[in-house]
Amino acid sequence: MSILVIAEHDNINLNSATLNTVAAALQIGSDLDLLVAGHDCSSVATAASQVVGVNRILVADSDTLNGQLAENMANLLVSMATEYNHILVSATTFGKNLLPRVSAMLDVSQISDISAIVSEDTFIRPIYAGNAMATVQSSDSKKLITVRVTKFDAASASGGNATINPISVSEDSGLSRYVGLSASESERVELASADIVVSGGRGMQNGDNFAMLEAVADKLGAAVGASRAAVDAGFVPNDYQVGQTGKVIAPDLYIAVGISGAIQHLAGMKDSKVIVAINKDTEAPIFQVADYGLVADLFDAIPELEKAL
């Protein structure tokens, strides 16, 4: 039973989500290849070859894969698919964009966002923003799967010894062009992989006040996140958003500040190991999932917290 994992990367570094997806794939079988598709991505291939449990790194390096647009990437994957029973990718915006296109081209019903593997054809996935867990069995001959990475421990990034094999790339589809990425600059650890996250909601009142959370985050070596209300109000950029529509994270410690705890927000953080809620409203639903709740005005509590750390 051969398995292909699609690596996520920016042509320089392997995204850590890929390690969790490799770990999920290893629960299905051990004959595992990793596809590194991009442009000038040899450093990613080298890093990928160290990942424990991978047999072969398949490297598709071409200027037609600049920006890793779905159209060219899907054509490449379809050309490789005959060899594999399972194709997995992280349920990040990268994987969510790409894999359904491949699935439809192969006439396969994709299984989105799996949180557990029951057997090689049966998987558990959250539905209704995590209000329910569905166990689904696939009758397709191939299984195409996106993986909820917070539910699988990362495979080890070093100690592996995979071979690196260049593969050929199909022509440009001509359908789409990559223009660019406006990345939000941050010196801090990445939200998706941080051990500690400090998140602010509408209660922060404005973007400037997020400096208070950043001061706390700096002391803890934490990333800063936000609710949708805070992003919509323009306090912070979109990639700070945690929840059903934003990032799904599960740090060791999640500190929710001025966030009410709507189900759509909880969908993105309720698997965190320890949850702290700071809110002035005793009734806020966030307290129902918090391990430690503090009813307080955040404008008093946050400076105090920063000093106490």
Partner: protein, 272 residues
């Protein structure tokens, strides 16, 4: 090659050439779902979610897709907005709502079956081949199945480009420039038209329908077709074996002061 069937039940007389772009036609896929404000309850027999008597509504991301189509029409770029839903008879309410907001015409593909995104994409492809829109807008994700697949699958089946998770759309004559909300920030891509674009929540702010428009919408054209008559293979490939409640988190405690909180995090939870 796409095969076109201009049948009058779909008012095929409205079909425009894909290159006549000053009066574009937009097709919007709409799903009727459990209202996001309502808590989903798992059925006792674990077969699914309790939906009888539950408040249903238009999927929020579809609201963004409809709103964008209306904004494009108001901007004079789009001439006709066709909304399509595949579902039970009651999905007519959801389509009427879209007509009240500003869509011109609706198509309801009737089925009692709950289709997987691949099957929905096949049905939408069938409608697209008859309607020949310049652009298809869908929501990025249905908030019931949380699949996030249909738009990408439809684009694949049509051989069209896709632009998912759009927070900004600029249409030109033969192409579109789209800003996408991705994990790393905001990505910009350019795609040929026709294309499938999936809407993210920040694409726009959906309006509410005014009462006079709700009344007017009752007279707007709404065609009903039964899924069986389309002759498509929409059999599901996934069997739901069980639907369960997620494991509950153990109850936490309230702390009285910041000092106590820091102490607990250091000495009890040992996370800092």
């Amino acid at each position: 090659m796409i095969e076109y069937h201009f049948r009058d039940w779909l008012r095929g007389d409205n079909v425009k050439s894909v290159t006549e772009n000053l009066s574009m036609k937009v097709l919007v896929g709409i799903k009727r779902v459990l209202d996001p404000q309502v808590k989903a309850r798992v059925k006792a027999d674990q077969s699914g979610i309790e939906l009888t008597h539950a408040k249903m509504t238009m999927n929020p991301f579809c609201e963004n897709a409809v709103e964008e189509a209306i904004l494009l029409k108001e901007a004079g770029v789009v001439e006709e907005i066709v909304v399509v839903s595949i579902g039970v008879a009651k999905a007519e309410e959801t389509l009427r709502n879209a007509l009240a907001l500003g869509a011109d015409r609706a198509i309801l593909v009737l089925t009692e079956q709950i289709l997987e995104p691949l099957a929905v994409a096949k049905v939408l492809k069938h409608i697209v081949e008859k309607e020949v829109p310049n652009l298809v807008l869908v929501g990025k994700q249905a908030i019931d199945d949380d699949c996030n697949q249909t738009g990408q699958m439809l684009a694949a089946l049509l051989g069209w480009p896709q632009a998912t998770f759009a927070s900004n759309i600029e249409l030109q004559d033969t192409d579109a420039t789209i800003t996408r909300e991705v994990d790393g920030g905001l990505e910009t891509i350019n795609v040929n038209l026709p294309a499938v674009i999936s809407a993210d929540l920040r694409l726009n702010e959906p309006r509410y329908a005014s009462l006079p428009n709700v009344m007017k919408a009752k007279r707007k054209p709404l065609d009903k077709i039964t899924l069986d008559t389309l002759g498509l293979n929409t059999a599901n490939r996934l069997t739901t074996l069980a639907v369960n409640e997620p494991p509950a988190r153990a109850a936490g405690i309230m702390v009285a002061t910041v000092e106590e909180l820091v102490d607990k995090l250091k000495n009890e939870a040992k996370v800092i």
